[in-house]
Symmetry: C2
Subunit: 229 residues, 2 copies
């Protein structure tokens, strides 16, 4: 009996709910998944431990963590410890200080390199434009443009085999993402969303707030903010 | 008297003649230049010493070297010591094994992040399509596509201030580049082109051959291949 080889997907695994859900969807779709995480000098490096736990949960055959020091030149409250983390709620028309210059562009560029080396046909991203519409690099037009670049950028692309960028959550809000995460049996307690860099989730940063609001809506009690009461 | 601040350019400085010439052109055009180099696991890491020497020659106010291990997953003879370096001459229709998957895409993505953090208005690249047309990521359509992505990718871009990608050598051959390098007083003896990873230039790899042919054409005697006779 011949073994049918599954198509290969690179999943950008941050340790948060979004990328975990995207990974779950790729596996559900019959893809073999390799995880890729980034140690980029983020203050909330605890998310990398969460990424490892999720890789184990999904039984990924490979999980690479790339070190790239985007904190080297500052420019974001996520990597610059001198800047406060915002907790005023996300205002969609304003780009928040947690925006790391070029972060997703660097991550996707590296994922494309990795995908080409591993002959992966797809890159799955947990990016969503709804809750974080303040981020310029989480929008559909940005991803479309990156796909065009990928088709021109690489040996595989010029041969018509560039990896496809797949962002299944792009138009979902956090409630929809959580519902899908539960359906896919993602261990939500193992994911990490908080920006603060503390040992337990702060419950007040934008990321905790959006997560908590969605958890409340679906009737969950395990809120980040509850841990500090 | 008020000091007029020069516009800021990030120069991708590999240590070779091309990026040195591009840097010289940016300075000649009245730009203040910051250098950016990459330690990406290349076997010819000697080029990084050359990049430092060139940064000193140009008296750059800042020169950053980013560590990003593209050798981690192989895929190129430039980073994989098990693969031989080709010395059969460049055949434009074939992508050579020295092609590193996604290298320029990763480098330009990081340069865009750096440019945004430093509020630089331009990124100057030594990329040229003539001698290395086998590389998919050294062509004008690739750069045009990257500019479109940059305009959508970043906070600066969405505000109409994305750094401009400038590749002044894109349509020049090596002879023209060397003539310009000499006109700009670039210390050619400080540049490093060889792919082999040896202490002295091998004189036989594609990069040495293209360099030597151009040096011969302009009547220079300091050929890489002469060092081994």
């Amino acid at each position: 009996m011949q073994t049918v080889q599954k198509p290969l997907t690179i999943a950008l695994l941050s340790g948060g709910i979004d990328s975990a859900t995207a990974t779950g969807l790729a596996i559900e779709a019959g893809q073999e998944v390799i995880g890729l995480s980034f140690d980029y000098g983020q203050r909330h490096s605890k998310e990398l431990k969460a990424a490892s736990k999720l890789a184990q949960h999904f039984k990924l055959r490979e999980h690479q963590t790339i070190h790239i020091d985007l904190a080297q030149w500052g420019g974001s409250s996520l990597t610059d410890l001198k800047q406060p983390i915002p907790d005023q709620g996300v205002i969609p028309s304003i780009i928040p200080t947690t925006y790391v210059p070029g972060r997703n562009t660097v991550f996707i560029a590296i994922a494309l390199s990795f995908a080409e080396a591993r002959k992966a046909t797809q890159i799955v991203l947990g990016i969503n434009a709804m809750d974080y519409s303040g981020y310029p690099d989480c929008r559909p037009d940005y991803l479309d443009s990156f796909q065009k670049l990928a088709n021109l950028a690489s040996k595989a692309g010029r041969e018509g085999n560039a990896a496809k960028l797949w962002a299944p959550l792009i138009n979902w809000n956090k409630t929809k993402i959580l519902e899908e995460a539960l359906r896919l049996n993602i261990p939500i307690h193992e994911t990490w969303s908080c920006y603060s860099g503390l040992n337990t989730a702060c419950g007040i940063c934008d990321s905790c707030r959006i997560r908590d609001e969605a958890l409340k809506k679906i009737g969950r009690k395990d809120l980040c903010s509850e841990r500090h009461k």
